[in-house]
């Protein structure tokens, strides 16, 4: 620690630790969160827009918040390019990670829906009212095929 010279550890400090910037970041994060909540609650009450569209907004909001937390709170934006790249480049793996696995999940759904009629049917059967307290929660519905009762 002491034997490595970093130019920021030598007396002069970067002016980036301004309290103003921190509070600005705080307000940005808070406003994004509040907007997301308002949209979620409005959707719950009125269903005013298709959910897929809103999901897009939520994801953009989340990524924006992530950017501000990493850039300002974790201070990465004010580090040198070498450090930024050594974090940002490996993080690119997430793009593949997300795309591959969500694609896979979707494909699994399509396969089951086209080859397992019971899987489709199960999605149309209404759930029975369950007792509270979880004392007598019925086991998984595999055992009882519809119509057998």
């Amino acid at each position: 620690m002491e034997n490595v010279h970093t130019s920021t550890a030598e007396g002069h400090h970067e002016p980036s630790f301004s309290t103003k910037l921190i509070w600005r970041t705080f307000w940005i994060l808070l406003i994004i969160t509040v907007v997301e909540l308002v949209i979620a609650i409005l959707y719950y009450e009125t269903k005013f827009l298709p959910k897929h569209f809103l999901n897009g907004i939520f994801i953009i909001g989340t990524l924006a918040k992530a950017f501000f937390i990493i850039a300002e709170f974790m201070h990465l934006k004010h580090e040198i390019r070498n450090l930024i790249m050594s974090i940002a480049v490996p993080a690119m793996l997430f793009i593949w990670f997300l795309a591959a696995f969500l694609w896979d999940g979707n494909s699994f759904k399509n396969l089951r829906n086209s080859y397992d009629p019971y899987h489709v049917e199960k999605n149309t059967i209404k759930a029975k009212e369950k007792e509270k307290e979880g004392e007598h929660v019925p086991e998984k519905p595999e055992g009882k095929k519809p119509g057998v009762e």
Partner: protein, 224 residues
């Protein structure tokens, strides 16, 4: 980019850190990278299962209660309070780091104290939420909430919910412990003797990461 760096600096010529940070902080960044992939694996497997399901429980129906006031049917009110607490404690953490830059021991202690308080408040909220959901019959292996289209749901929803929020809660818990240790070390004057408060920065990085993960957990479980 750092303003304090002279132009044309040769970072890779040896004799200095090519990342312009001390060793411990760099390693904290790499640890957080790996931890991000751990959380990523959890959340992406949750996403995969959700994508493979025809229907899923409605978060607005599941998370609609608030302590003391009870079932007041305001969806997501409580979890937004939790989010606010965590963002707020992230701010106090940055303020502690800032105070450390000015070698302001009193300031560091004050802001670390508030950060710990925020962390404990968040853990308390989470404990309440878990207790409440458990009271409604939700736990690993049982799911009382029907899917949004009214059909019988599998236990995937509760399994993922408790595993991922539990894993996150465990991170918050260890973050609080780390912060308490930092507060005690500050109080004992360890950093004062050392002449710098870089340890506070490393603890801060971890704490912000916990906040960062919560942002994603919040979106995946409560909004989508």
């Amino acid at each position: 980019m750092a303003q304090a760096v002279p132009a044309g600096q040769k970072w890779w010529s040896g004799g200095k850190s090519p990342f312009n940070v001390e060793y411990g902080k760099l390693m904290m960044w790499y640890f957080l990278m790996s931890d991000a992939f751990t959380f990523g694996a959890f959340l992406i497997s949750y996403g995969t299962i959700r994508f493979s399901s025809n229907s899923w429980p409605d978060p607005n129906k599941v998370f609609r209660s608030f302590p003391v006031i009870g079932d007041m049917e305001i969806p997501l009110a409580f979890v937004s309070l939790m989010t606010f607490i965590l963002i707020m404690s992230s701010v106090t953490m940055v303020l502690a780091v800032g105070a450390g830059h000015n070698n302001d021991k009193k300031g560091v202690m004050k802001w670390m104290f508030f950060t710990i308080l925020g962390g404990l408040a968040f853990l308390g909220c989470q404990a309440w939420e878990w207790t409440h959901l458990h009271g409604e019959g939700a736990w690993w292996g049982r799911n009382p909430f029907p899917n949004i289209n009214g059909s019988e749901s599998s236990t995937n929803f509760t399994n993922f919910f408790f595993t991922i929020t539990g894993f996150h809660g465990f991170h918050v818990f260890s973050g609080v412990i780390i912060n308490i240790i930092m507060l005690i070390m500050t109080w004992k004057g360890v950093f004062e003797q050392r002449g710098h408060y870089l340890m506070i920065e490393k603890a801060g990085l971890y704490w912000h990461f916990v906040d960062l993960v919560w942002v994603f957990v919040f979106t995946c479980f409560y909004l989508l």
